[in-house]
Symmetry: C2
Subunit: 384 residues, 2 copies
Amino acid sequence: METSTHPGDELELSIDLRLAPGESAATRAAEIAREQTVELDLALVPEPVRAAAAGRVVAVAETGPHRAHARLAFPAAAAGAELPQLLNLLFGNISMQRGVRLTAVRWPEALLAAFPGPACGVDGLRARCGVTVRRPLLLATLKPLGLGASELAQLAGRLARGGIDLVKDDHSLADQPWAPFAERVARCQEAVAAANRHGRSCLYVPNLTGPIDRLGERVEMLTSLGVRAALIAPLLVGLDTVRSLAARSGLALLAHPSLSGALLGATHGFAPALLWGELFRLAGADGVIYPHAGNRFRFTRRECLDVAAALRRPLGAFAPAFPVLGGGMDAARIRRLRRLYGPDTIFLAGASLLGHPAPEEGAAALRHEIEREPSPPGRLSGSR
Amino acid sequence: METSTHPGDELELSIDLRLAPGESAATRAAEIAREQTVELDLALVPEPVRAAAAGRVVAVAETGPHRAHARLAFPAAAAGAELPQLLNLLFGNISMQRGVRLTAVRWPEALLAAFPGPACGVDGLRARCGVTVRRPLLLATLKPLGLGASELAQLAGRLARGGIDLVKDDHSLADQPWAPFAERVARCQEAVAAANRHGRSCLYVPNLTGPIDRLGERVEMLTSLGVRAALIAPLLVGLDTVRSLAARSGLALLAHPSLSGALLGATHGFAPALLWGELFRLAGADGVIYPHAGNRFRFTRRECLDVAAALRRPLGAFAPAFPVLGGGMDAARIRRLRRLYGPDTIFLAGASLLGHPAPEEGAAALRHEIEREPSPPGRLSGSR
């Protein structure tokens, strides 16, 4: 592998490439470095501009037939400390090519420092749920789309009384006629507050993913109701909107992966740990929802564990964030997965809970399960 | 193909599926219809909710080995007249599966009416460029990243004097130290205005793709400078931000495809005509930049022509929008492509212009070319 040195004020990208027959890995890597920065034949770029702003190839190696791995360095200044431009730098024009998969980024500290990251993080979200003992948290979803606000609120109250730590809106609940936003959040918050007046400490997490020019008024509405957390789908509103909400709203934010799976192709796009783990956390998500392996979605166990590791590992001055594991979670699966993921995890109990004839009993059984087990070892191994 | 009827207040989605060996197309289609709406086993959904809110399969047919085509219907009310939720409905959770490609949507008129679409459209943007004769428009880009504001402004002035109709910032120009936003837009606008005082009618199009909480002040700054158009990358700021800007900013908007290519997989994601043609236009883009086939990107000629058709076809009450064709455009290529795309097209001249020793002469040659040729027939055929 050819290598050259690089100064510390650069982002270093690790990229897996699929090459056309006869294509040179070195040429392809150099084209990508140029495409993502100066976007011109280097012969047309004055030397001082090239030195300051052009991306460059740090190392490139063929890894198999028509496959290569490249490390590219981009000047941190090219990102301009703005998240939309950072995304553009990472995967702007090359999104329109094929066979370019961004697997990791080495971040310069100065760039990380431009983003506050999670406002609450693991400890802050634990505090809002009143769970200081180090066990996983339980999250349940209010659905289906089509229920009325009072039915959703009734369900919220039952789940809260049963001992669920966080009760969220389904990500499909927006401002539809069946349960308009204002009515729904007021009723659900009141139902959860009523349970909390009887000894529970549940956090209601309404879906804030709405029109960009109504987010301000919706945040105000939530705040006035005493709501302290919200669900937001970064790809539906733009990742930078999450950053802005994390910085200003006062709400803990759970990020939903809607639409984002399209960016996670097996040979083109982002590695899940980079998008869901690092970029969603950099934008300010206190927890990131994603499906654990082995259900109707398509991610491997290794990829899912890598996301969790990325959410919690030391990165700039960012607080660690929760992995929030969805996809067919019932008591047995949660019991297995907590060994794998450790206590700083949120489990999203789905249909198993809503299918229970008495949701509060299903909730209580899960709560019993999550409290009963001794704090497991933190090692990321063991059976699924 | 099995078919059932459907009422007019539904979105009808056309989807190409790749199936696992032994997987039933009908089962897969039904799972997708459920996943994207009620997201629960239908046995758990009360009958009135199912009837009102659940997606359903209209028709499904196997189209080859492990391939199928499905038509699904979703209640329009599920979108709640909000663009983030519309995106979620179209490709939220299924983004995390594989082998689901959304190729077309039949839109209910009532849903389209909730979105204003392009504020200027083809005619409005022509008027802002002062080009009422029905010829294609010429667009050039200020780059590379790393040039100073005065150098970019000098280039803008030369391109405007040469007769380029629109001069835009490169999409990588944000607020970097080399050419900070405020300084750059003021200088470039002044340089273009100076050319316009000498008989030109060029429109400067700065890159507005910036932090979500600074867009308001940047729009004000542009307006106060007399800027009347801007570049915005919908996937970098969120598609709904484009809608909001189209409704309120007073600026004509050119949409840039940065990052969006990741959503356009060959077997998973959106067809380009749906994302770039219909959704970007629905959000309010007056022109959509994308690369024509046959260069360093990966789209077919058919796909590229379909995008242009989608941007211009009757759709709700939307004004038609311009296809803005990039990717290695020089005079010869523009001459060929204008026969294919017709006059309501913008050609983005790239490196051929910036590599010219005297950019104003290169610009003048292109202007001569675009004015010289008689208005071509509108048919979408002929050589590349």
